[in-house]
Amino acid sequence: MQSIYWTGRLLSRALWNGIASYSTSCSSDQQPNAVVASSSRRREASLISAVCGFPKELVRSRIRKGQFGDDAWFTAKFRTAEVIGVADGVGGWRHYGIDPGEFSNFLMRTCERLVSMGKFRPTEPAGLLARSYYELLENKQPILGSSTACVIVLNKETSSIYAANIGDSGFVVVRRGEVVHRSSEQQHYFNTPFQLSLPPPGHSNMVLRDSPESADTSSFGVEDGDVILLATDGVFDNVPDQLLVTEMQKIEGERDPTKIQCVANTIAWMARRLAFDDAFMSPFAQSARENGIDAIGGKPDDITVLLATVAI
């Protein structure tokens, strides 16, 4: 009950401020970190989006705008393009004293800057990821680590989507209760996704490195009312597809950012709860069984939900 109260308060504050993108955080209780982003223009397609997520360890995690634990996300606009993206820093780096969140956050913040500076081709989302990755090398302070990433560009004039995905983050597009498009997961082997990485000097041979060009790209047209879910594996590994579709269906054609925020919150909460449910046969556990690993229960992970509806 309290969480609904909090969310409501955050949202009303967001609306009061009346700005395109608003973010806030509350660290103490398990409050969702909510963000509302909205826009509308006649005839041109646009995205009405909301963000919700949780860091895996609520107590120890840093709270920063655009980040949930090692996950990071961004929304940005430039002329006729709207871009949203998520990235999931690979947690294994923590053993080497490297903060995995730095890498994914840098990747997303740089995408955001590149988009708002207009330094990208709207038809080449993989190119955007590549440029963002390239900027890592231009940083004086080395930012080491690796990350999965998924970026979606909406061309407002042609109502088409261009998407690029590296690794196991991804997106789902739901229209009239059906999944019409989804990203394909890229894995080297079970639980080891494709990743962009910058290893410490001298370790390049020991680290999985996939080039930004190896991204899985797709493009398709969207219709008014389509619902797009862009999320990290913390969501897809824990929430079965059918549950996602049921939730997403509720906001088909919805233009009220508050309602979209509610569903984003629900999905994030669901993922969070299932992740810590030991007895639940999660999609992750199923996948593990298919790979001959006897597993059950959810997979505790950082969770980022970026939910958007298309308004034309």
Binding site: N139, Q141, P201
Partner: protein, 651 residues
């Protein structure tokens, strides 16, 4: 004038009060610039970062989101590759080393320009505004400053500008900087209408007034800054509007007539009444003019008498003296009389020309005029000139045909209109060329560079931020065995393979002294190995080339082969190890060493280098994570004569 009258006038202007607006804008576009720290294809530390509102201000520190330039302090002037000005007497007290031309959307009458300085402030030395005809006007100039290490909103007091502008130029001098300066944004605050003081006896301009109001509050005159307290820039603007409303009015055309009739007398009370003017004129016609005519006649008949003692000197001595004069003075003395006119025409006075300080006023006419005097021209610096339509490629070509045959040194840095045909002319006319600097000449295509294969005596080539290609460059290198200095920084990555260039250098240019490969990511161990054949190397800049893994014996070999190395820049060779640098202890001439971002270096190797290289002056150990601040302090204490740099983490 009666008291009543005065009141009426003010109330009349009061009516027009609301007809101006104060507009604050941030940079809309970067038109051109002379250098940037970042790479063409990147957004980190590049010039376009100055566009838009500040992104980091008032944070202080090193940010990739800022605009940074390539140099700081005097280190580049001390390096083997330094270039010396041909005609230093032309330079003002402070030389502009870098510039950036920034465009705004809305033209305004400028009142305030505020520069958001993020890191190491104090290097802005001039602000210019361009009118709609392309003419430049200096709004402010000052000395480089040493200021406290914190972010600064710098708004120098401006000259009154009587035209609308939307293009500004900032000029920089980095000589006093401790480290790279970084800028976040530049705001231009101006009015939509020209503002005039309400009280006509108040002759001071707006900036003065602003200065008074600020200094009245804060008593801080030292930095000539109108915004010493940046906490609330918006408050500043509101204050400004209030001040404007209170003291100033617009120059309305419907107001003009009444102004002319009633106010002119009062505003320009220095103008004498018309009767007095007539009298003066009569006096001049009767008395002074005949005397003047006589004098002129006398000067043409007996030149020597009029030159006083000067003519006693031998012509060689006189020329020697005149050679010390700057170009402006040379032109001025030619107006004294025929004798000096003839003297000032002597082509021997025009063997070295530096026109860069006159970039704002040099046009096709002045260039043509100059060509009549430059029969023996050997060294010419046309850098920064000719842009914004001041003169065309044809003008340069004509000048070269006229006076280019003896040229040995030619600098055309940042000349946007230097194109393929200009290069062709150079290759045909200037057969003896030793130095050719084409920094930022982006109109030259690969075809243009091919013409340079005709030259054979080149010793210095600067291709900073041009589009030269590997094959062309290699052919030029094959022909020019005497090459000593080469800069190929910021050439477009797709065009050039630095490894192949380095191998060609190793084969063809045994006299190579300095090489600048900054941020050339195609350089690998292969290229560095090949360069070891150039035994006379004194300066290498491989910074930001170290992303390729593994250096093996490469650097060890380079350091042992090239014993004369004075400057070695290896920034972001992340994997650099102590072993790679052992060879440096043999480089007894080493003066400057940049090791930024070398993650695994230990304090021991730093001690070793510092103790075995007695001439070392500069060492950059920023982001060397294995050497903590404690050791840095210790090194600084033990080697106080070495500037040991480290970017502090202020975030």
């Amino acid at each position: 004038m009666s008291h009543h009258d005065q009141n009426r006038k003010i109330s009349k202007k009061e009516l027009n009060r609301s007809e101006f607006t104060v507009i604050e804008q941030f940079v809309d576009n970067v038109y051109s610039f002379s250098s940037q720290y970042g790479n063409n294809i990147s957004i980190s530390y590049t010039a376009p970062n100055i566009i838009g509102p500040p992104s980091k201000f008032p944070e202080y520190g090193d940010f990739p989101q800022a605009f940074a330039m390539r140099t700081y302090g005097l280190w580049w002037d001390k390096a083997p590759s330094r270039s010396i000005d041909y005609m230093p007497q032309n330079n003002p007290d402070v030389v502009s080393q870098d510039y950036i031309d920034i465009e705004y959307r809305e033209p305004v009458y400028p009142i305030r320009v505020s520069i958001y300085e993020l890191y190491n402030p104090g290097s802005v030395i001039a602000i210019w505004a361009q009118d709609c005809y392309g003419q430049w006007f200096q709004l402010w100039s000052g000395l480089p400053q040493i200021v406290t290490q914190q972010s600064r909103l710098f708004s120098p007091p401006l000259q009154l500008c009587n035209f609308k502008t939307k293009m500004l130029r900032l000029e920089f001098n980095h000589s006093l900087l401790d480290y790279y300066t970084e800028l976040d944004a530049v705001s231009l605050i101006g009015t939509s209408e020209m503002m005039f003081p309400k009280d006509p006896s108040n002759k001071r301009n707006l900036s003065d007034l602003l200065q008074d109001t600020i200094y009245g509050h804060f008593n801080n005159i030292a930095d000539h800054n109108l915004t010493p307290h940046y906490e609330n820039p918006q408050q500043n603007i509101n204050n400004l509007k209030v001040i404007l409303d209170e003291y100033y009015t617009t120059y309305e055309s419907n107001n003009l007539q009444s102004m002319l009739i009633s106010d002119v007398e009062q505003i320009y009370h220095s103008i004498p009444p018309i009767e007095e003017g007539l009298n003066n004129m009569q006096q001049f016609l009767i008395k002074d003019l005949p005397r003047f005519v006589n004098n002129v006649e006398a000067s043409s008949n007996e030149p020597k008498e009029l030159c006083g003692n000067f003519s006693i000197l031998s012509i060689e001595t006189i020329l020697k003296i005149l050679k010390k004069l700057d170009l402006k003075s040379l032109y001025r003395i030619s107006r004294v009389n025929k004798y000096f006119y003839n003297l000032a025409l002597d082509p021997l006075l025009y063997t070295s020309l530096n026109l860069k300080p006159y970039w704002h006023s040099f046009n096709a006419r002045t260039l043509h005029n100059l060509s009549l005097r430059c029969k023996y021209l050997r060294r010419l610096d046309l850098s920064w000139c000719g842009n914004h339509g001041m003169f065309s490629a044809t003008s340069i070509k004509e000048f070269l045909i006229e006076c280019g045959s003896l040229l040995t040194h030619l600098r055309l840095n940042c000349c946007k209109n230097v194109d393929d045909s200009t290069i062709y002319q150079i290759s045909v006319t200037c057969k003896n060329l030793k130095e050719l600097c084409l920094r930022n000449c982006q109109s030259i295509q690969d075809k243009g560079f091919e013409y340079l294969e005709n030259l054979e005596f080149l010793e210095r080539l600067d291709f900073y931020r041009t589009s030269i290609k590997t094959e062309t460059l290699c052919k030029i290198l094959q022909k020019n065995r005497w090459l000593r200095h080469l800069n190929v920084v910021g050439t477009f990555q797709d065009n050039i393979n630095i490894d192949i260039v380095a191998m060609e250098l190793g084969r063809s240019c045994p006299n190579l002294e300095s090489i600048d490969f900054w941020k050339a990511q195609t350089l690998t161990a292969l290229g560095i190995n090949a360069l070891a054949a150039c035994k006379n190397l004194r300066e290498v800049d491989f910074s930001w080339c170290g992303n390729t893994s593994g250096h093996g014996e490469t650097l060890v070999k380079l350091f042992s082969c090239c014993q004369f190395l004075e400057k070695i820049f290896l920034a972001t060779f992340r994997g650099l190890t102590d072993r790679d640098l052992k060879g440096l202890t043999q480089c007894k001439h080493l003066k400057q060493l940049d090791l930024l971002g070398a993650l695994s270096l230990t304090p021991e190797i730093c001690y070793e280098i510092l103790s075995s290289c007695p001439k070392l002056e500069l060492m950059d150990l920023s982001f060397c994570d294995n050497i903590n601040n404690f050791y840095i302090e210790k090194l600084r204490q033990e080697y106080p004569h070495v500037a040991i740099k480290r970017i502090m983490d202020y975030h």
